[in-house]
């Protein structure tokens, strides 16, 4: 049984039993210790069963078939949307399904170039991001600014892994058209003051885009209270399937944005000369959508809702605190990012003196401990701290203190293997 750490989820052992993969034995008989949930989360049985049941009994295309199965599939797909909306405090029509968070962010960055009126980004405008963004919240804005003649600017980072807001008065100005930032860093774990920055951005007349890929899995998210105008996250990090992401936007903004991809289901009518477009959210969902994925995502957010996101957050804080303590006990290990579990998420990146992150990850893997090694798609943030690559351990609602112990023991073993004192 897990040691009694204040804040751990009640019935953690039962929760673990919901995730069949956690029972797996890895090479040489080691039990799986999965510490890569910031990369992708594992799936509870109810998500797997719901998707299988949909494919076995209700499969059809959505919104275009008159037959019974078509009706059932459409209902299941739209129920997925309603569940996601309820989970993040949104209206159902404000939830757009995409392929992943990257596509959601690209949808916004592309349509802002094509928009008519005050949303349009053009020469002389500024787009403001941060140095701690995932590549998926950097590259789309580089493409947008390069193509439109706008200027890309960014908040730098402080030595302790937070946004440097000292020059916010200069960075957020009358030319600022868009401010796009991550809520929780996938590398440093930092939780950013999204609301505070959003208020400043709005005062300057800018649109606020939030990458919530690491926030929605880990803490209660109310999109309206967040201050965002548009917010993106992905299904597979919230115990749902891959292949589906979410773009939430306040209705008014979504209506002003032009279509992204053209095709079936996003139109009102089509002639050979021109077309008119469907209302949101269909306007942004060209082609057959990820149907069974939406059904699975609905089951996933239902599952998290039953556990309670407040409880998930408390669990993450408890485990992250235990993880930070455990890592601090390893000589020669340095943690990147804030050290206080209360204002950070559950992804902790670190370096081990004299052992390259790949080698650390390989040694840990030989003991069944799965972590990520590399730049975690945050090359600029690594560069900011003079680090080429790092190891990242990330927990979730099913992580136990014993698994953190296995990681720390694995790190000591790694040092011994590479003859580091």
């Amino acid at each position: 049984m897990p040691r009694n750490l204040p804040g751990l989820l009640d019935g953690l052992e039962l929760i673990r039993q919901d995730f069949p993969i956690l029972g797996r034995t890895m090479a040489d008989g080691h039990p799986l210790v999965y510490l890569d949930s910031a990369n992708t989360s594992q799936k509870p049985q109810v998500v797997i069963d719901t998707m299988v049941d949909h494919l076995e009994r209700h499969n059809a295309n959505v919104a275009r078939a008159v037959h019974q199965l078509g009706g059932e599939a459409t209902e299941a797909y739209e129920a997925g949307r309603e569940k996601v909306a309820a989970f993040i405090g949104a209206q159902r029509d404000e939830v757009v399904f995409t392929k992943n968070a990257s596509e959601a962010l690209n949808l916004v960055a592309n349509t802002l170039a094509w928009a008519e009126g005050d949303l349009r980004v053009g020469p002389g405008d500024e787009v403001l991001i941060t140095e701690m963004e995932h590549h998926s919240n950097i590259v789309p804005w580089q493409l947008l600014t390069e193509r439109t003649g706008a200027t890309l600017r960014w908040f730098g980072l402080t030595d302790d892994g937070r946004l440097d807001l000292s020059n916010i008065d200069e960075l957020v100005n009358e030319r600022t058209k868009v401010v796009s930032l991550t809520w929780v860093s996938n590398m440093l774990g930092t939780i950013n003051p999204v609301r505070e920055i959003a208020d400043r951005a709005h005062a300057a007349g800018a649109l606020v885009v939030v990458d919530a890929s690491q926030a929605v899995p880990q803490m209660p998210v109310d999109v309206v209270a967040s201050g965002a105008d548009l917010l993106a996250f992905t299904g597979h990090k919230v115990v749902g399937p891959t292949g589906i992401g979410v773009l939430w936007g306040c209705r008014d903004v979504l209506e002003k944005l032009p279509p992204f991809l053209g095709g079936g289901e996003m139109i009102r009518t089509v002639t050979m000369e021109r077309s008119t477009y469907a209302d949101v959210p269909s306007k942004f969902e060209a082609g057959t959508p990820p149907i069974v994925e939406a059904v699975g995502l609905g089951a996933a957010v239902d599952y998290l809702g039953h556990v309670g996101m407040e409880n998930v957050r408390r669990h993450e804080e408890a485990i992250t605190g235990y993880l930070l303590d455990g890592l601090s006990s390893v000589k020669g290990l340095s943690i990147l990012g804030p050290k206080d579990p209360h204002d950070r998420g559950g992804a902790v990146s670190f370096e081990l003196d004299q052992v390259h992150p790949h080698d650390v990850a390989q040694l840990l893997d030989s003991r069944g401990v799965a972590v990520r090694a590399g730049h975690h798609c945050t090359k600029p943030a690594h560069q900011r701290y003079g680090v080429q690559a790092s190891v990242r351990a990330s927990s979730y609602l099913y992580t136990t203190p014993e698994e953190i112990d296995a990681l720390v023991e694995g790190l000591e073993y790694t040092k011994k293997y590479f003859r580091v004192d």
Binding site: V355, H358, Q362, H375, K379, Q388, A389, F418
Partner: protein
């Protein structure tokens, strides 16, 4: 021997701790910079040949590498193996090393050709690490191809 020990052979760890021919040196005819985009490993590598004729000999391979033990040791072993060889012979060694690394652990390495390079046989069983082992080798081939193409015009062998 476990798969892990087969990958992290003593030879590899030795080369990692004490890389041979490390550092960038003059003169050189070509310099390349290769990265492994999935993990961020990087190598800057220079090649210096003694002549421009068909029997050109590799006088020096110098490098500055950032990366894991496998990628670092691999480029160190490469310099031991290739410096002093004719380009033609070096390409054969390259071919042999490539075949070993892409063989998923089924290729029996030829010690006469690969010398310390046979230590990488265990790496071939870890698909995620094969690119690490090949980073320096791909950089060397790229640089050498550039020198030869520039001095003698492209030959079939190099194409």
């Amino acid at each position: 021997m476990s798969d892990l020990d087969a990958m992290y052979q003593e030879i590899i760890l030795d080369h990692y701790k004490n890389p041979h021919h490390a550092g960038l040196r003059e003169p050189y005819e070509a310099e390349v910079h290769h990265v492994n985009p999935t993990c961020g490993d990087e190598v800057t590598l220079r090649v210096h040949l003694d002549s421009t004729d068909d029997d050109a000999v590799i006088e020096d391979v110098s490098y500055d590498a950032l990366g894991c033990s496998i990628s670092q040791a691999s480029v160190s072993v490469l310099t031991d193996l290739l410096i002093g060889k004719k380009v033609k012979e070096a390409l054969d060694v390259h071919e042999e090393f490539l075949a070993l690394m892409q063989g998923r652990g089924t290729v029996e390495p030829d010690e006469d050709v690969l010398e310390d390079g046979i230590a990488f046989a265990g790496v071939a069983k870890f698909p995620a690490r094969v690119k690490c082992a090949l980073l320096g080798w791909m950089a060397w081939k790229d640089a050498t191809t550039q020198v030869v193409a520039r001095t003698a015009g492209p030959t079939e062998e190099m194409a």
